[in-house]
């Protein structure tokens, strides 16, 4: 962006510092937020390309463009990048940093230097993971779950990739620590807990999951490295170890990690829906507390990933029951969003379209999750394409679409320019249709018995696989249009100033783009985040 063309002094230019060092050594939460944003977006696009290659391979039975070993490596790298480099750091790192301090009326996060350090750790981990792809004896081929005993025996470069994820875990913990402290200590006068924007509530719940669950991933991955390097036998049944213990340890983190991915996305939806419905959010307290309830209950359900692992029947019963418990706070949110829409003055602009599609896609993802949460049906579809379809409905259709919604909703605020609405609507419709073709076909294929992580399949699965691949192309074309339109608009589009969306949260009360210190004087909060009448918004 060219700072000279901006309408006024802002965080882009008011410190007088320019050049790359003014960004990579900046402790301003907005600059760090943008560093995260462009980093995660870059990795997202790489992983999208890998996903498209996987779909091309599956377009027809037999070998299409790659062999089985390459296919194994590609789905591993696709998963590792999407999970650890895009969607886990995406919301807290990018939009959490950009928005949360302003929404609570703070000048910055509690530990700005630690915040910058988190980004550096994230980049260090990312570089190590990327290095693992091109060094040693080939990229890891274990899947993003690094399951033992395969991950401890394969000759591919698992140790380095695992070490990269280990480093990124520290980045996530530090961000969580920073956000919990910031939300507790730096709220403006009058910003009580029941006046916190719901996006902040969702980040708060997420931060706790980051702090409490991520260390377990770190320990688990360190044990995988120890197993590979030292042959400790911890997960080797022949030497008194327990391979199922690895799955417990891995999913103790990785199931709550799903909530690191989805909770802030729910926060974004809770911001967009009231603003574009012109109505205060329905059931504010229930939505806020359900974020915490999802984080708490969601941390106790990891065993539903292991129903076919040989785990005890007692554990299957307990984890299956608890999985159904998570549906309650999730449903509370969905019903409250729908109730907010009821009799609202709905404005169907790009952020709202992404939010509405979140409602549908997340609901499909959530309800198909119940099929996986019930042990009897899970055994039928375990490790099939159904799981892949379900997961993408939750994480891409849910978190991904919320991420795109957040990009359209908040990025103009930080650039002072906006995108064109019509191409955004076309891009959204292409993505929505392409998404459903791609992933619904996968769920049907899984129901019919097509396993996941196989590069070949029986001829009877060919038509739906072809349709899924064609859907992925439509999805990708929509994504390209979305990005071109958005970034062209942010750099050269119409000016975006004031409060064009009509939001009542604090970020809409500061200058566009915001100054480095966010507020000219410390704000005093006198109304709730969705009290449109008190703020004079029609």
């Amino acid at each position: 962006m060219n700072p000279q063309k901006l309408p006024q002094s802002s965080f882009w230019n008011d410190t007088g510092k320019t050049g790359i060092t003014s960004w990579i050594f900046s402790t301003d939460h907005k600059r760090i937020g943008l560093l995260y944003f462009y980093s995660v977006l870059g990795f997202f696009l790489i992983a999208v390309c890998l996903g498209l290659l996987l779909r091309i391979e599956l377009m027809a039975p037999g070998r299409t463009i790659m062999g089985p070993q390459t296919y194994n490596a590609l789905f591993t790298v696709h998963g590792v990048i999407m999970v650890f480099l895009f969607i886990i750091p995406g919301f807290p790192g990018a939009f959490g940093n950009l928005i949360m301090p302003i929404q609570i009326g703070a000048r910055d996060v509690a530990f700005p230097r630690l915040n910058l350090f988190s980004w550096w750790l994230y980049m260090l981990g990312a570089v190590i993971i990327i290095t693992a792809l091109f060094t040693g004896s080939g990229p890891p081929d274990t899947g993003w779950t690094f399951y033992v005993p395969f991950s401890t025996r394969t000759g591919t470069n698992v140790s380095l990739a695992v070490f990269g994820v280990f480093i990124i875990g520290f980045s996530s913990i530090l961000t969580g620590l920073n956000f919990v402290t910031t939300i507790h200590r730096l709220r403006a006068e009058g910003m009580t807990w029941t006046r916190l924007p719901l996006f902040v509530w969702s980040l708060y719940a997420t931060a706790w999951v980051q702090i409490l669950a991520t260390p377990i991933l770190g320990i688990t991955l360190a044990l995988v490295i120890a197993e590979r390097m030292l042959g400790t036998g911890l997960f080797d049944a022949a030497r008194g170890g327990d391979p199922i213990m690895y799955q417990h340890l891995f999913w103790i983190y990785s199931h709550p990690a799903v909530y690191i991915m989805i909770l802030p996305a729910m926060g974004v939806i809770s911001e967009i829906i009231p603003v574009f419905s012109r109505k205060p959010v329905f059931g504010y307290k229930m939505i806020a507390f359900s974020s915490v309830a999802i984080a708490a209950a969601g941390s106790l359900v990891w065993g539903h990933h292991m129903f076919t692992s040989g785990m005890s029947d007692t554990a299957v019963l307990v984890f299956s029951f608890l999985t159904f418990v998570v549906a309650i706070p999730s449903a509370i949110k969905v019903f409250n969003w729908v109730s907010t829409l009821y009799k609202g003055s709905i404005s169907l602009e790009a952020p709202m379209l992404f939010a509405l599609s979140f409602l549908l896609l997340f609901s499909i993802g959530g309800l198909t999750g119940l099929i996986l949460g019930a042990a009897a049906t899970d055994i039928h579809v375990h490790d099939t394409q159904f799981v892949v379809g379900h997961f993408h409905y939750v994480i891409f259709g849910g978190s991904g679409f919320a991420f795109f919604g957040a990009m359209h909703y908040w990025l103009p605020k930080f650039y002072g320019r906006r995108y064109k609405e019509k191409p955004a609507l076309i891009a959204w419709s292409m993505m929505f249709v392409g998404f459903n073709i791609t992933y619904f076909c996968m769920m049907v294929l899984g129901m019919k018995g097509m396993p996941r992580r196989y590069y070949d399949y029986l001829p009877e699965f060919a038509p739906l696989n072809l349709a899924s691949t064609l859907g992925s192309w439509l999805l990708a074309l929509g994504l390209i249009l979305l990005l071109v339109n958005l970034f062209r608009g942010l750099l050269r589009g119409e000016p975006f100033s004031g409060n064009p969306w009509g939001g009542a949260t604090l970020e809409w009360s500061v200058a566009t783009p915001p100054p480095t210190e966010n507020f000219e004087e410390e704000p005093v909060v006198t109304h709730g985040p969705y009290d449109f009448k008190s703020t004079g918004i029609p």
């Binding site: 919990v180 706790w208 417990h248 103790i252 005890s312 007692t314």
Partner: protein
């Protein structure tokens, strides 16, 4: 944050805690040699909990911190206990 309330622990107290930790380490080694059957795990966990409790209370100053921090730490420890406890639904009944 109020830095003026920062509590300084005397060297005598720190040394006492350190010596207690060393003694408990010796106890851990001694207990591991006893034939306690399944109770061996609980014994080791009990001593380890006592040791970590001393570290948290004195070396991490938690004994002198306000309620909020103690509560936050309690949540973390409770979560860890639940994680371990729930794993036993599998291990004990397999």
């Amino acid at each position: 944050m109020n830095d003026t309330n920062h509590h300084i622990i005397s060297y005598t107290k720190l040394t006492s805690v350190w010596l207690t930790l060393l003694a408990l380490t010796g106890l851990t080694i001694w207990v591991s040699g006893l034939d306690l059957g399944v109770n061996r795990v609980w014994g080791a966990l009990a001593i380890a909990s006592l040791k970590s409790g001393l570290v948290i209370a004195f070396f991490m100053h938690m004994k002198y911190e306000d309620k909020l921090l103690r509560w936050l730490l309690f949540v973390a420890l409770l979560t860890l206990a639940i994680f371990i406890g729930f794993t036993f639904f599998d291990v004990l009944y397999r």
